[in-house]
Symmetry: C2
Subunit: 356 residues, 2 copies
């Protein structure tokens, strides 16, 4: 097979440790399935601020642009939290999304059998929960004009939330297509009773919907969605929403599964190019100690194989290997009941690699 | 005692039924405690659209302004959902908040003992949950400039989110004061890593905090808050946040208690004037059948007595009466395990009145 290039951004905190295990898995799938990858590492986030004076160096952007996909560990930490805006890891994240045109963030929220009890929700409520939040990622209030001004009430701050019809269309089409490949249900979330951007959003969804007659569509107000996720999580299939609402709801959905440490995500643009990363953060408190759970990052590789490369066999093999290792009772500290038997990051990576 | 005036807005759906029971309780507290109230009814919401051609008629506003407090049932329903913006019940709600200067929405989220099992959260997680969301109610993206324009991506919609220092200060002071009377913990929720309004919010909170050294303050990002509410609800005391975030988080918090049908809320301005209403909606599907649960509205009267009038004795008596009636096993259909034994709306109101 043709050699594919993966840009690898280890990032901060536990990022380097979990990414190292994911690379082990990439190598293993080369051996087993005959695929071929080159990987190129690049600096990003806090470490890039420290070494290059900016969270998103131009070289890093070039490495990503020259690659077929990007694997990201995690970025950020208290060290950079009080920096000015241009010197914060988050600014790099927003920048890379915009520069790479990653307008769609896919956040699957599934329940891992071995973690059913880790959720704060009752098991019978969680039963069958398997949803995907499709979050618009390069528009809305995140990227609108921001400024300060003097007003009657002293200094004023302003954020602008804008959406064009074209921006809504492309993400909504993608969400409908994803729903068609799943349980054929789409919930479009907005605040159309208050926001103009939400009214445009809803009009656009309604105009597109007839092109997907096999998908059952419902409109849900964002406040109601925050409630329904708690009340009936298993009734959702695909949820599509704008950037800010998606930030909040995808985290709520991830947390209610109880499996947040195991969830992966994909950020996609127009074509097959994508950036893949675990949902969890950089966990600076446990960094460098071999305590991190590499599974979410390893599963991000499976997602990359499926969505960017179409390597279904290798994606299936990774997911099966993870399930097998968990079924055998192996656990890292974060998900272990008996912490004294917990595996290290590399031990978990080795076991999963061996199971492929 | 001086005669106080209460403006009564029954509204739509089950609104008139639950408000009638709340008025029964008002009369009963006059008998028992010697307080004296006049009530004046006014049209608002869907019924005002039907009868007066606008959700918030000028007379209604005048009735509210001439009163010491407002009791609101519920507004809205499918009948008006497809109306143009000016003819929608929600527009009336936003209008009354702005016109009456109700900048602070207090949403207590508590767990009723008899409803512990109604929550989708595990009882041990819920144990001890008793929090209050203080939501800014007359600023932010709800009230900013909204418009459409033509752009490169076709028609564009724009919403503007603005906050002045003065707007943030008044709500934050109120939240600190409320926290001082409770468990002395305040979580300020923002998205300071992305939004300019959130950065102003956080700066303002930090500037005010030293005036309340007895209150323990934490800053929580909105996405993280949506998660932490699920993971550790009982660790929150008071949560203060801007309008849009408050809309989402207060509903999430209410739903996780499992007691959403029993929760009341207050919207306050500068002085003691307030508007009190149940958290639940107008439930058009069960309207007019005597099935509605009047408890949230009755508890809104208790909140009114406490916050507007300082009638602690009567407020306590109402809350005790509700607890007693529930302890005796009386239930309306929405909270009954055995629906065949469920009480009607008026029967529940009568029992609570009798218990005062
Ligand atoms: C770090 C922050 C800017 C980012 C966001 O809000 O998009 C994060 O919360 C996420 O969801 O990826
Ligand atoms: C009806 C709607 C405009 C309103 C809001 O968003 O404020 C409602 O959801 C609420 O919370 O009172």
């Amino acid at each position: 097979a043709e050699t594919k290039k993966i840009a690898v951004i280890a990032g901060d905190g536990i990022g380097p440790e979990v990414v190292a295990e994911a690379e082990k898995i990439i190598r293993r799938t080369e051996e087993v399935f005959g695929y071929s990858f080159t990987t190129e590492h690049a600096l990003f986030g806090g470490i890039a601020i420290d070494e290059k004076g900016t969270p998103l160096p131009e070289e890093t952007l070039q490495v990503c642009k020259s690659a077929d996909a990007v694997l990201l560990g995690a970025v950020g930490g208290p060290k950079w939290d009080n920096n000015s805006k241009e010197l914060r890891p988050e600014t790099g994240l927003l920048g890379i999304r915009k520069e790479l045109g990653l307008f769609s963030n896919l956040r699957p929220a599934v329940v891992f059998d071995c973690l059913k009890d880790a959720s704060t929700l009752k098991p019978e409520v969680l039963e069958g929960t398997d949803l995907m939040v499709v979050r618009e990622l390069t528009g809305g209030i995140y990227f609108g004009e921001k400024f300060r001004r003097e007003g009657a009430g002293g200094e004023e701050a302003v954020d602008t939330c804008a959406y064009s019809t074209a921006e809504v269309e492309r993400i909504v089409h993608q969400a409908f297509e994803i729903a068609q490949k799943r349980r054929k249900k789409l919930a479009s979330v907005d605040k159309a009773n208050v926001l103009e951007t939400s009214r445009l959003w809803r009009e656009t969804v309604n105009r597109i919907a007839p092109q997907y007659p096999d998908v059952e569509l419902e409109h849900v107000l964002v406040d109601n969605c925050a409630m329904q996720l708690l009340r009936r999580p298993s009734s959702f299939d695909v949820i599509v929403t704008e950037n800010m609402f998606g930030d909040i709801l995808s985290d709520e959905a991830a947390m209610l599964t109880g499996s947040i440490g195991m969830l992966s995500s994909a950020s996609m643009g127009e074509g097959a190019f994508g950036l893949y990363e675990p949902v969890h953060g950089s966990a600076p408190d446990i960094a460098g100690q071999g305590l991190a759970n590499p599974i979410a990052t390893i599963l991000s590789v499976a997602l990359m194989y499926r969505l960017t490369f179409g390597y279904e066999d290798a994606a299936d093999a990774i997911e099966r290997a993870v399930a097998e290792v968990l079924d055998e009772g192996h656990r890292t500290a974060d998900i272990a009941v008996d912490k004294s038997k917990a595996l290290s990051t590399t031990e978990m990576g080795d076991l999963i690699a061996a199971a492929i």
